[in-house]
Symmetry: C2
Subunit: 344 residues, 2 copies
DNA sequence: GTGAAAGCGCTAACAC
DNA sequence: GTGTTAGCGCTTTCAC
């Protein structure tokens, strides 16, 4: 912050406007405060003066005095995965509609968001949203203490003092298992996301449990870390193995798309016929004819709605309890996995 | 545990730290100001007190008094196009590395960024970056007046008082034309982005010019508005027409991907054999085997580097002249377009 | 309804 | 090197 030539260009302040309008500075403030009491005449004078001077209230100063900012901090783990981009976009749109602004904190992919959280605490954020990232209990406590709502999206906390919005991962994992079993598959495999991710863990656990109901215990497993290249490599290992799986459940769509590419172009396996591949998320691009991916929908719009609702509730009452919101997803059957005869 | 206890949520200030450390408040300020002169002893006392109290400088207050914020406003036209997401991500990473933070302003796609610019002026932004959006000269003037650097990325201004970073669109358009001509194509088509976009216009114009050199003037044309669905519809019109093109240049990759899908799955045309499709951007996903798209690279990393360099220069000297930076792209030949024999 | 006055938390002269 | 002193631009009592 050493840089920057000092500009002598003083900005237009409420005082300047007051002087021109022939009113007090407070009158100017009131004019720009929705719901404050100003007479029609005063307001008009102020507006005219403001317009002529090109005045705009300084939101930073406003936040400082009013002790409340309209900045929402959002932590995203990069945007290589369209899912994150989509959630971020909708989150931003929803909050902007309410007069908030998103301050972006991109974390270098890894799950440890403590350093970035530390950074966030320097801005008087109205709230913090962590997308696909977890939160140390230390920070959870600290945020609660200063009355700053924190919300996990697409991830759950071990502590239920932290709010979260997720899809019903367990239902999804089970549904996919049943679908694959009904399709008559024999050799199952799971492609995991990051090991530390609650999301991947839930999907895997329920997948395994459902298979167990049918006495299927031998499940091959690789880790793709939610990354395209890593998932492609993992798929290669799986398909090159002795017991090539005929049913592959990937913890997210991006990895499923990688698996699709590898199967088709490196192993000459046609998804839906020679191998069944299922994802999780339902990215827009997964619906493209080239992929035609069977997947479990994470209803992004609904998740964002709930996220906004939870944040609003906490903002209204800082004593409000944390909420773990789990949203109903849906299995979308397309062509990348063999379809059981008569499947609804 | 005391529930419902009303916590007086005053934040920890430099004064509190000063009191505990037994020094003046300025000493605290200096401790947290890189390059300020504080003795080892004082600094230590301050750091200890700060740590014990959980003190963090308030960046908003700092910006207010120092008249310079570390907030960079970035306008993005949504993130459905991975190109935007990629640029945003790298931009954020680059600025964060310099101690800046990105304040996100997502505009509802359209090209008129005036309302959002208006919003931005309320925050004391260090600089503003417009991604694939244009700028009215009114705002360009206003921003210059208050000494706030503005930079267009992937778009050019008619005025050269506005800085911009773009790829050499004209070179790209011409190269693609030559490549397609060398491939022996007969019926050319161009799929435009938004009509108001300088980027699309430049690519089209140079494409046409290069074709003109070979006496090719009949060029079919549709508008895809940089949107996947719109581009798919446009492609349908093109392919259903009497004079079905055998060479299609799309103003960006996203639209080329749409064209690819439509060609292959709706018209049973194999790209690279029955029709040649070329894009512009070189998205990561365009390299996937399923698409194997021939395209012109926009070197995102380099563009971001230049963007940061330009902003830094303007920040250092607000009188610095605007810079129009044009970066050299590169034609990536892959399988979606027929390859001329012996093409280098 | 309106103005005066008191700060929000901080940096940056300025003396010492 | 350190403390003292002014404010940055604004909201918000509080009298009138």
């Amino acid at each position: 912050m050493e840089k920057g030539k000092k500009t002598t260009r003083r900005m237009v302040t409420a005082y300047d406007v007051a002087r021109v309008a022939g009113v007090s500075q407070s009158a100017v403030s009131r004019t720009f405060t929705p719901g404050a009491s100003v007479s029609k005449a005063t307001r008009q004078k102020v507006m005219d003066a403001a317009a002529s001077l090109g005045y705009r209230p300084n939101f930073l100063a406003r936040s400082l005095i009013s002790q409340r900012s309209n900045l929402i901090g959002v932590v995203v783990p990069g945007m290589a995965n369209p899912f994150y981009a989509q959630v971020l976009e909708q989150l931003a749109a929803a909050f902007e509609a309410q007069g908030y602004r998103v301050l972006l904190f991109s974390t270098a992919s890894n799950e440890d968001s403590d350093p970035v959280l530390e950074e966030m605490l320097h801005y008087q954020l109205a709230a913090v949203i962590l997308l696909s990232a977890s939160l140390s209990s230390r920070f959870a406590d600290e945020c609660r203490q200063i009355g700053m709502p924190v919300l996990l999206v697409n991830r759950k906390s071990h502590s239920d003092a932290v709010s979260s919005v997720t899809t019903d991962n367990r239902v999804g994992g089970a549904k996919i298992a049943e679908f694959l079993i009904a399709g008559g598959h024999q050799r199952f495999a799971f492609l995991a996301g990051r090991e530390s991710s609650s999301t991947s863990a839930e999907r895997e656990q329920s997948f395994r449990n459902a298979l167990l109901q049918h006495d299927i215990t031998a499940i091959q497993r690789e880790v793709g870390g939610y990354d395209f290249e890593a998932a492609a490599a993992a798929t290669r290992r799986l398909l090159a193995g002795a017991e090539r799986p005929d049913a592959l459940f990937c913890a997210n769509d991006l990895m499923a798309l990688a698996a699709l590419n590898v199967s088709r172009y490196e192993f000459d396996l046609q998804p839906g016929r020679d191998i069944s591949i299922v994802g999780f998320d339902s990215l827009p691009i997964s619906a493209w004819p080239v992929f035609d991916l069977t997947t479990y929908v994470q209803p992004v719009a609904e998740m964002v709605m709930q996220a906004v609702a939870i944040i609003n509730a906490q903002l209204l009452d800082s004593e409000a309890p944390a909420i773990q919101c789990e949203i109903e997803g849906q299995l979308i059957v397309r062509g990348s996995a063999r379809q059981p005869p008569g499947w609804k």
